[in-house]
């Protein structure tokens, strides 16, 4: 595709519900990243996928957060039992290889009521 796409663009959910956020990286990009951006804050690294290697999960804030990447392309970030502090914009980025320029998607704005 022309760029990184994410869906949905906005998600409102109730506390305690599970949510799934989707990321379609740029075709051919082997590296995929998830970040979280809270209101007025910088971006917080969550998780990184590179090819078929085990993902780097060092940024995930709790075990309620998980992500998978199927077929080396599309990725899904899942947040279980959502809490109000999970409210943020979740951004996905991809790059051709590790340590290369990262291209960001438009993000998914998650609001937990």
């Amino acid at each position: 595709g022309a760029g990184v796409s994410q869906s949905p663009s906005n998600k409102v959910t109730e506390k305690g519900k599970d949510v799934e956020l989707r990321c379609d990286p740029i075709s051919g990009h082997t590296a995929l990243y998830w970040y979280r951006q809270s209101l007025g804050q910088g971006l917080e690294f969550l998780i990184y996928f590179q090819g078929n290697s085990a993902p780097d999960k060092s940024g995930l804030p709790s075990d309620r957060f998980s992500a998978e990447r199927t077929g080396g392309s599309v990725s899904t970030l899942t947040i279980q039992r959502t809490q109000q502090e999970d409210s943020a914009v979740y951004l996905c980025a991809s790059s051709l290889v590790r340590a290369a320029q990262q291209f960001f998607g438009p993000g998914t704005r998650l609001t937990v009521l």
Binding site: G42, L43, E44, F45, L46, L91, A93, A99, F104, P106
Partner: protein, 114 residues
């Protein structure tokens, strides 16, 4: 912990003037630095990057300066335009190890006044 930070949260400049956005980093192992621009409601957009073996790199209307001695990074935007209004983030990475994601500062909101 080690982090990347910005000196000023908001910078206001007149249209046509030059602007300088500053960033301090503390991880001496970082060897790759990037500036991103984020407009309201959009994801960050790559502006320019620089590796630690350089101290200056120029793009179109933008220049990034790296001073490794004092761990300081700056972004200079020449002849600012209304479209330059956005939040600017610096980010750093240790390409040789550590977490694979970028470490971002909190951002500077650049406001271009007519």
């Amino acid at each position: 912990g080690e982090s990347v930070g910005l000196h000023l949260p908001t910078l206001s400049v007149q249209e046509g003037d030059n602007s300088i956005i500053n960033c301090a980093y503390s991880n001496s192992a970082s060897d790759y630095f990037i500036w991103y621009k984020q407009e309201s409601g959009k994801g960050p957009q790559f502006i320019i990057d620089i590796r630690s073996n350089m101290d200056k790199r120029q793009g179109q209307r933008v220049t990034v300066l790296l001073n490794k001695t004092v761990k300081h990074l700056s972004l200079q935007i020449a002849a600012t335009q209304p479209g330059d209004s956005a939040v600017y983030f610096c980010a750093e990475k240790n390409s040789g190890g550590g977490a694979d994601g970028l470490t971002f500062g909190k951002g500077t909101h650049l406001i271009i006044q007519p």
